[in-house]
C-alpha cells in the first residue's frame, strides 16, 4: 500500500483545505476566529498558537510514519532498544515537558482576561435568566425586562449575571467572550465589553431539552446615548392601544390565556412562564431568533408555534377566529 506518499498528500490537502475553510469562517458572525473584544481576541490568539504548534507536532509524527514506510524493506536493529529509547524519551517525555510548560504559562496569562469582572468594577449590570427556550433579560435598578435581545452600550464594561429559571443553559456569544453556564442555585458572571457597535449573535450551548437548537440571542451594542434612550423606553409600561383593532387585541390577550404566561407591564397580564411582551414590537425577532418579528410571522407563530419550534411551551391558537388573531398581532406589534 502507498501509505507514505498518498497518505502524505492526503493529509497536506486536508490541512490546506482546513486552513482555507477556517479562514473563510472568519467572516461568520458566530465564529470563534472572528473576535470583537479583547477576551475573545486573546482566545483566538491562543487558538492560532496552539493550531500552529499542533500542526508541527502532527507533521513530525507523520514524518516518522513515512520513514517507517520508506524503510520497510530494510532489516532493523534486530531489537536493540538504545536508539528507539532516545527518540521515545526525547519525543514522549522531554519535548512535551517543554511544549506543555510554555502552553500552561500562556493559558494562565489568558485566564484573567476571560474571568468574571471583580464585583463593583462595572457601571452596568445585566441579569440574563435562561428559560426553556428563551432568554429573559433584566436591567437591575430599572423596570426594563426584555427577551432574547440584550442591549448594551459600547466601550462600557458590563457585568453579565447568568442564572437559570429551570434546567442548565449556557450563555455564549463567541465574538464577545467565552461561554458561561447557567446552573440552578448558582450565579455566574462574565464581562461584556464591546468596543464597536453592532449586533453579535449567540446561542445556548448546553443541551437543555427539545428546543436547545432554537434558543438564540443577540447582543445589540449601541452608542451609550442610544442605549440610554433604549433603556428609558424599555423601562416604561406598555403603550395603550389606539385603534379599535388594537383595543380588541388587548382584550383578547387578557382573556384568551395569553396573560397566564406573559407579562405586559401596565396591564393585568403578569404571567412569568413566557417572555415579557411589554415592548415586544420593538424586537427584531420572536421565539428566540426563530422567526423575524413581522406581523405575518407573528400571526403564523400564534396560530401554530409547534410548526416553527416543535416542543415550544406555547400552545397554538388556531381555534381563535383569524380576525381575532389579527387583532392580537396588531396589538402586540403596537407595543414598541
Amino acid at each position: 500500500m502507498s501509505l507514505g506518499r498518498a497518505g502524505g498528500r492526503r493529509w497536506t490537502r486536508v490541512a490546506v483545505l482546513g486552513l482555507l475553510l477556517v479562514a473563510s469562517g472568519c467572516n461568520s458572525n458566530q465564529s470563534v476566529t472572528n473576535p470583537a473584544t479583547t477576551p475573545a481576541s486573546d482566545i483566538a490568539t491562543l487558538w492560532w498558537a496552539m493550531f500552529a504548534g499542533a500542526m508541527v507536532i502532527f507533521a513530525l509524527v507523520l514524518g516518522l510514519l513515512v520513514l517507517a514506510y520508506v524503510r520497510r524493506g530494510r532489516p532493523g536493529s534486530g531489537g536493540d532498544d538504545r536508539g528507539p529509547y532516545r527518540v521515545i524519551l526525547g519525543g514522549g517525555l522531554a519535548a512535551p515537558i517543554v511544549v506543555l510548560s510554555i502552553l500552561f504559562i500562556f493559558v494562565i496569562r489568558v485566564m484573567p482576561a476571560v474571568s468574571a469582572p471583580p464585583p463593583g468594577s462595572t457601571k452596568l449590570t445585566v441579569d440574563v435568566i435562561g428559560h426553556q427556550w428563551f432568554w429573559e433579560v433584566r436591567y437591575p435598578g430599572t423596570a426594563a425586562v426584555t427577551a432574547n435581545e440584550i442591549h448594551i452600550p459600547a466601550r462600557t464594561p458590563v457585568n453579565l449575571v447568568a442564572r437559570t429559571a429551570d434546567v442548565i443553559h449556557s450563555f455564549w456569544v463567541p465574538r464577545l467572550n467565552r461561554k458561561i453556564d447557567m446552573i440552578p442555585g448558582r450565579t455566574n458572571r462574565i464581562e461584556l465589553d464591546a468596543p464597536q457597535t453592532g449586533v453579535y449573535p449567540g446561542q445556548c450551548s448546553e443541551f437543555c431539552g427539545l428546543e436547545h437548537a432554537d434558543m438564540g440571542l443577540e447582543v445589540v451594542v449601541q452608542t451609550p446615548a442610544a442605549f440610554r434612550a433604549w433603556l428609558a423606553d424599555q423601562a416604561r409600561p406598555a403603550r395603550a392601544p389606539t385603534t379599535p383593532q388594537e383595543l380588541q387585541g388587548r382584550q383578547v390577550f387578557l382573556t384568551a390565556s395569553c396573560a397566564d404566561c406573559h407579562t405586559i407591564r401596565g396591564t393585568p397580564a403578569v404571567g412569568r412562564a413566557g417572555p415579557d411582551l411589554t415592548h415586544v414590537g420593538s424586537r427584531q425577532t420572536i421565539a428566540a431568533l426563530t422567526l423575524p418579528n413581522t406581523p405575518s410571522s407573528l400571526f403564523d407563530w400564534i396560530t401554530n408555534p409547534q410548526l416553527y419550534k416543535p416542543g415550544a411551551r406555547m400552545p397554538g391558537f388556531a381555534s381563535l377566529p383569524a380576525s381575532t388573531r389579527r387583532a392580537l398581532v396588531a396589538y402586540l406589534e403596537s407595543l414598541t
Partner: protein
C-alpha cells in the same frame, strides 16, 4: 514458529482425554450455559457488533437530519432519543463490551497460557447482565421512551420535573445493570491476570495487551462506583422524591456532573487502553520486532489509567468553578499527554526500527496512530482553559472525541478483528479487500469528522437537532453527512469480508502471521482447554521461543502440566509467576443466564413502577443464587 507437531500416541491419548473433560453441551443450550471464555468472548463480540450496527444506524439518521439547515427527517423528540442512544450504545454496548468483553475474554487466557478465566461462571453472568442492559435500553427505544437527556444525562434536565416519562429510568437502571456486569468482568480480569498466568510469566513478561486490560480493569473497578452512586442518587430523586440534585432544597446539580465525570473521564481511558493493547499486539507481529521500550510502555499504560482519575473537571470548565480549581485540572490534563506521548513514540519507533509489512491489521494501527495524535492534539487545545470555555459543547468537541474514540479506540479494534480472525475461525480473511476497506474507512472517518472542527469553530453547538440557514454551517455539515455514508459503506465491506471469509476463506494455520504471544502457539481455532499442556515461558514473546515450545510438546508426551484428570488449570505467584497450585474450574451452568434474566425482568418491573412484583423477582433471584451454589462443579470425567 508453530508448535503443532503430529502428536505421539501417548500425547494423542491425553488430548482425547482433555477433549472429553472440557466438552460442553452441544447446540443452542450450550451457548446459554457455557463458561468457556472463548465462547463468552464470541457472544460479546456478536452482541456488541449488533449494538454497533444499531448505534451506527442512529448516527446515520442524525447525519441525514443535519445534512442541511432546517431539515425535518426527524423531530426534536426523536432526535434527542437517537442522540442519547447513540452515545450510550457506542460506549456501554459497543466499545467496552467489544474490546474488554470480546477481545479481553477471548484473548487474555490464551495470551497468559491459562485454560479459562478465574471465575468462569461470573464471566458468563457478566455477559448476560450486559445483554440484559442492552435489551432494556433498546426496549425503551421500541417504546419511543428511550433516554433523551444525552449520554451525560445532566440534571435537572433528567429530573422527574423536566423528564417525567420512563425514559431516564431506563437509562439509570440499565446502566446500573451494565455497571455490575463491567465490575464483575474487571474483577475477573484482575484475578485472572494476577493468578492464572503460565509458569514463568513474571510481571515483566505479561503481554502488553494484558497489561492494558489490567490497567483498564483497575480503572473500571475504581471509576464505576462513582457512576453507580450517581445513578442511585438520581433514581432516589426521581422515584422517591429525594433532593440530591435539587438546588431549591439544598441539593446541587453540579454533584451529578462531578460524579459523572469522575467516572466519565477514566472511562475515556477505559475505552482507549484496550485499543493501545491491541496496537502493541499487532505492531510487533507485523514488524518482526518486539515492542520498543517494552517496560516504559507497560508503565505508561498504567500511568494513563492512574492520571485519568485526576482530570475530570476539564469537562466542567464553563460551570463557573474557581480559577485555582481550573488551573489544577488544566495542569493534570496536560500532564496526561506525557504517558500517551511515550506510547505514540514507542509505536512509531517500533515501526521505524522493525521491518513493517503493511497488511490490513497494521494499516488500521497506522490509521489509529494518525487519529490518536490528531485527536490528542485537539485534546490538548481543550485543556487550555480559555479556549475550552469558548468551544466546549460545540462540534469542535464532537470532532475531537470522535477522532479519539472512533479513530483511536475503534480502529485498533477493527484491525484486531482482522488480526485474530484466523485464530478464531481457522480461516483467512481477504487481504486485498481488507486493505481497500481500510482506505475507505480511513477516508470516511476524515470526511465525517474533520469538518466538525470547523463547524464548531464557526459557533455550531452540540446536541442541536437542526440549525438555521443564516448560520452558514451547511457545507461542513453536508461534508460530514457524506463522510458518514462513506464510512458506513466501508464498515459494510468489512463485515462482508469477514462473513464470507468465515465460510469461504483459505484455511489458516495456527500462526499465520508469525505472532509472538501464546495464542498463536495453539491451533486455530483453539480447543476448549486452549493448550494441551500448560506452556512454560521465558520471555515476553514466548511464541518466538521455538525451543520452549518444543519443550512444551515433550512435556505433553511425558504428561507434565497436562492436568488431564480434571477440569483444571494452574495458578502462579502474582509477581514472579512461579507455579503454586492447580485450580479446579467450575463447569458449565444454567444459573448465570437465569440470574441475569431475573435481574433484567426485575429492573423492567421497577421502571414500570410494579414494585411488589419487583420484590418477587428479588426472591426469585435469591433462589437462583442458592441453586447456583448448591450444585458443585462437575467432577472429572
Amino acid at each position: 514458529m508453530t508448535a503443532i507437531q503430529p502428536p505421539a500416541p501417548a500425547a494423542q491419548e491425553r488430548i482425547e482425554r482433555l477433549d472429553r473433560i472440557w466438552a460442553e453441551r452441544p447446540g443452542f443450550t450450550g451457548w446459554l450455559t457455557t463458561t468457556d471464555h472463548k465462547r463468552i468472548g464470541l457472544m460479546y463480540v456478536a452482541a456488541s457488533l449488533v449494538f454497533f450496527a444499531l448505534g451506527g444506524a442512529e448516527a446515520l439518521i442524525m447525519r441525514t437530519q443535519l445534512a442541511g439547515p432546517g431539515r425535518h427527517v426527524v423531530g426534536p423528540s426523536t432526535y434527542d432519543q437517537l442522540l442519547t442512544m447513540h452515545g450510550i450504545t457506542m460506549i456501554f454496548l459497543f466499545v467496552i463490551p467489544l474490546s474488554i468483553g470480546g477481545f479481553g475474554n477471548y484473548l487474555v487466557p490464551l495470551m497468559i497460557g491459562s485454560r479459562d478465566m478465574a471465575f468462569p461462571r461470573m464471566n458468563a453472568l457478566s455477559f448476560w447482565l450486559f445483554l440484559g442492559s442492552g435489551i432494556l435500553l433498546y426496549a425503551s427505544l421500541l417504546l419511543h421512551e428511550a433516554p433523551n437527556a444525552g449520554w451525560f444525562n445532566y440534571v435537572p434536565l433528567a429530573s422527574r420535573r423536566f423528564d417525567p416519562g420512563p425514559n431516564i429510568d431506563f437509562y439509570t437502571l440499565a446502566l446500573i445493570l451494565n455497571g455490575v456486569s463491567s465490575t464483575a468482568a474487571a474483577a475477573n480480569f484482575l484475578v485472572t491476570i494476577a493468578k492464572l498466568r503460565a509458569p514463568g510469566m513474571s510481571l515483566n513478561r505479561i503481554p502488553l495487551f494484558c497489561f492494558a486490560i489490567l490497567a483498564t480493569s483497575f480503572s473500571l473497578v475504581f471509576a464505576l462506583p462513582a457512576l453507580t452512586a450517581d445513578l442511585v442518587f438520581l433514581e432516589l430523586d426521581r422515584k422517591l422524591g429525594f433532593h440530591f440534585f435539587d438546588a431549591a432544597r439544598g441539593g446541587d446539580p453540579l454533584l451529578w456532573q462531578d460524579l459523572f465525570w469522575i467516572f466519565g473521564h477514566p472511562e475515556v481511558y477505559i475505552i482507549v487502553l484496550p485499543a493501545f493493547g491491541i496496537a502493541t499486539s499487532i505492531i510487533p507481529t507485523f514488524t518482526r520486532r518486539k515492542m520498543a521500550a517494552f517496560p516504559l510502555v507497560a508503565l505508561a499504560e498504567l500511568l494513563v489509567a492512574f492520571i485519568g482519575f485526576g482530570v475530570w473537571v476539564h469537562h466542567m470548565f464553563a460551570t463557573g468553578l474557581p480559577q485555582t480549581t481550573l488551573i489544577f485540572f488544566a495542569a493534570a490534563s496536560l500532564i496526561i499527554v506525557i504517558p500517551s506521548g511515550i506510547q505514540i513514540f514507542a509505536w512509531c519507533m517500533t515501526l521505524v526500527d522493525g521491518t513493517p509489512e503493511f497488511k490490513t491489521p497494521l494499516l488500521f494501527i497506522v490509521g489509529f496512530i494518525i487519529f490518536f495524535v490528531f485527536g490528542g492534539l485537539s485534546g490538548i487545545t481543550l485543556a487550555a482553559v480559555p479556549f475550552d470555555q469558548q468551544v466546549t459543547d460545540t462540534y469542535y468537541v464532537v470532532a475531537h472525541f470522535h477522532y479519539v474514540i472512533w479513530g483511536a479506540a475503534v480502529f485498533p479494534v477493527l484491525g484486531g478483528l482482522y488480526y485474530w480472525f484466523p485464530k478464531v475461525t481457522g480461516r483467512m480473511y481477504h487481504e486485498r479487500l481488507g486493505q481497500a476497506t481500510f482506505w475507505l474507512i480511513f477516508a470516511g472517518t476524515n470526511i465525517t469528522f474533520f469538518p466538525m472542527h470547523i463547524s464548531g469553530m464557526l459557533g455550531m453547538p452540540r446536541r442541536v437537532w437542526t440549525y438555521p440557514a443564516r448560520m452558514g454551517w451547511g457545507p461542513e455539515n453536508l461534508a460530514s453527512t457524506i463522510g458518514a455514508f462513506i464510512l458506513a459503506s466501508g464498515l459494510v465491506l468489512l463485515a462482508a469480508n469477514l462473513v464470507v471469509s468465515r465460510f469461504r476463506g483459505a484455511p489458516a494455520s495456527a500462526d499465520p502471521f508469525g505472532g509472538g504471544t501464546l495464542e498463536w502457539s495453539t491451533s486455530s481455532p483453539p480447543p476448549a482447554y486452549n493448550f494441551a499442556v500448560i506452556p512454560v515461558v521465558t520471555s515476553a514473546y514466548p511464541c518466538w521461543d521455538a525451543d520452549d515450545r518444543a519443550a512444551d510438546a515433550r512435556r505433553l508426551a511425558a504428561g507434565q502440566l497436562v492436568l488431564e484428570h480434571g477440569h483444571e488449570t494452574t495458578t502462579t505467584t502474582p509477581v514472579d509467576g512461579h507455579l503454586d497450585d492447580v485450580l479446579a474450574m467450575p463447569a458449565e451452568s444454567i444459573w448465570p443466564v437465569t440470574l441475569a434474566a431475573v435481574c433484567t425482568v426485575g429492573l423492567a418491573l421497577v421502571i414500570s413502577s410494579h414494585y411488589v412484583t419487583a420484590l418477587v423477582s428479588v426472591a426469585v433471584a435469591a433462589a437462583v443464587l442458592a441453586a447456583w451454589h448448591a450444585v458443585e462443579p462437575r467432577s472429572a470425567a
